[in-house]
Amino acid sequence: MKKIFFILLATFSLFQAQAQKGRFYGGYEGYLQLYQNDTPTSFVAPSDKFRTMNYITANYAYSHFKAGLQYEAFLPSPLLGYNPDLKGNKLATYYIDFKKNNLDITAGYFYDQFGSGLIFRAWEDRQIGINNAIRGIRAKYTISSVGQLTAFTGNQRLGFELSKSTLSGVNADVSLSDILDMHDVNIKTGFSYINRYQETASANPDLKPYTGSYSSRIDVDAGNFYGNFEYDYKESDARATNNVLLDQVLFDGNAWLLNLGYAKKGIGFNATFRRLENIQMYSERLLEGNLYNSGIVNFVPGLTKQHDFNLANIYVYQAQPSISFGEEKVGEIGGQMDIFFRFKRKSALGGKYGTKVAVNFSRWHGLNATFDYDRKIYRADFIKPGKLYFQDINFEVRKKISRSSKMIFSYINLIYNKLKLEGEGDMVHAGIGVVDFEHKFSGGNSGHIQLEHMNTKQDKGNWVSGLVEYNFSPEFGAYINNMYNYGNKDKKILYFNVGMNYVHNATRLALSYGRQRGGLLCVGGVCRYVPSSKGVTFTISTSF
């Protein structure tokens, strides 16, 4: 079947080459790593020191049709920290899509999301090693600007295989303001239903093979104000931990999400509140809690600011949607707030070129819960928060100081409950200061310096960080990046990194050598644990 697909795609594209009615496009992305033993961090390189991860995509679009495939090769093994099941090379995904008038049908592997993704999201993120595409059939029907209906059924991609369980879903997005012909206000509502069919041998008669989850939402847009509300519910299901099914007592789950904002030229404000209780869902029950995010059906990101600075990525918050009796944790409740504004140029606070400011605040608690270990149940308050897990208060000021120079000043104040979030440690209080300077020289050259300092009395103590970057042309640049844990009582380790980048149109090459700090690598709110390592890294990406 797959071979026929390949042949068809190849011949189709060759045949249509001169017709110019069709379009052939694709890309290649590759990561190569050569590991090296490292004494200061006690890192021992694996026996296969050289590892690569390669992704090749090829697509063809002609008239109402689109088809494509993605070939992946992880040879001899994937990089450390990625799912070891992704070994070898294989045709990973393929699809064919037909779109005409209001109908759009896809057969094969597809990606999609319902609402905020809290009940369903299928997506790919190569840095985190996530690809939970669904292989099956999906149909979308659009009714002009009034709404859209989506339905799908299939199996989820797990590594290079497919889940034994079947996932199906329907989603409806409706524009009420369009139906009621309202002009000044935009009101949209949405409803979704997801169903997982998984046979499971269990002594509990209440554990059914079908588990459903529901989503309801409303979005309102009026002038400069906007608001969004979503409520999701997951039916009772068995949990699992360390590959063992906990089917004695079943738990349902829910999620509440509220967002309010105001935006006008020169100022923007947004506040989000969220409460999660056992909302995480896996395509296979036993995958719950696995390290590689394998089998996740929904998207539960940590709602905090993703900082761009080295030291601000040491203590990163990971969302806590699940139940853990052993760690006395249930869900999370909290919020985040952002304010963006600018002081106009030539104003008192703006200076000659103007100043842009961004302030952010986020705070997350576990739910306030009491656990009954005998009956294996718990009770959680609805609003009253439990233990503090994380707090981040920060601001960032961007200022152009001359025709060719820019500066950024930032201060981040963190509280990180290492015990609750990582299983052991203190309540870490840290303050991080950042100064960033960029200067543009003539001829397309530019220089960039970023200095940071973290002050903390807990955990590993203080850090200092410095990045120096020079771009010799718009296409070629080199850098040295260092993070030094000078405040550590036991081991003062320098995490150094030197590298260079070359960009030409849509092709990008990067080469670097250094010591990578182990910890959570969080991209787009989803995290995976990256082991400490040392070695050479080469990445290449191109599209055609």
Partner: protein, 157 residues
């Protein structure tokens, strides 16, 4: 066998001029879904810049261009369409950020990453210049000075 087929598929690329513009569905700031091809219809140059609120070089690029944008518009009639790759973790930040930085661009969101897959780039910023319905320039990443190259291309007759 598979490897030979893959090679044929890839080689056929050389014989095809990939100038036609990819299609996909994106979302405007009111939550309406729009077709990409509908918003790029113009006889003036169009810059499409893929960015994200969490991507510092993207913010640098769009901030740098925002200072030159009024002049660029007067001289060339160019329109900049900024398409955000933010997902639900950070999408709520798009509107306040764009307004707080007083950008005048047309803002959209590639909510299902359809365009990211169609253009096949790995990370933002990714910039595309379209003139007369054809892609004339693409660039990955941003370093100070890139804006001069962009100006050069959009002002060329």
């Amino acid at each position: 066998m598979k490897k030979i087929l893959l090679l044929i598929t890839l080689l056929s690329v050389i014989y095809v001029s990939a100038q036609e513009i990819p299609s996909g569905t994106i979302m405007d700031m009111k939550g309406n879904k729009v077709a990409f091809k509908d918003i790029i219809k113009s006889d003036k140059p169009i810059i499409v810049d893929f960015w994200a609120t969490w991507c510092a070089p993207c913010i640098n690029e769009l901030d740098t261009i925002s200072e030159l944008y009024p002049d660029w518009q007067d001289e060339t009639g160019v329109k900049l369409i900024a398409i955000s790759l933010d997902d639900e973790r950070t999408a709520r930040r798009i509107k306040p950020l764009v307004n707080g930085k007083a950008w005048d661009y047309e803002i959209y969101r590639d909510f299902n990453l359809d365009l990211k897959r169609a253009f096949n780039f790995s990370a933002p910023p990714f910039l595309v210049i379209i003139k007369n319905g054809k892609i004339v320039y693409t660039h990955s990443g941003f370093t100070p000075g890139n804006e001069d190259k962009i100006y050069e291309i959009i002002s060329k007759k």
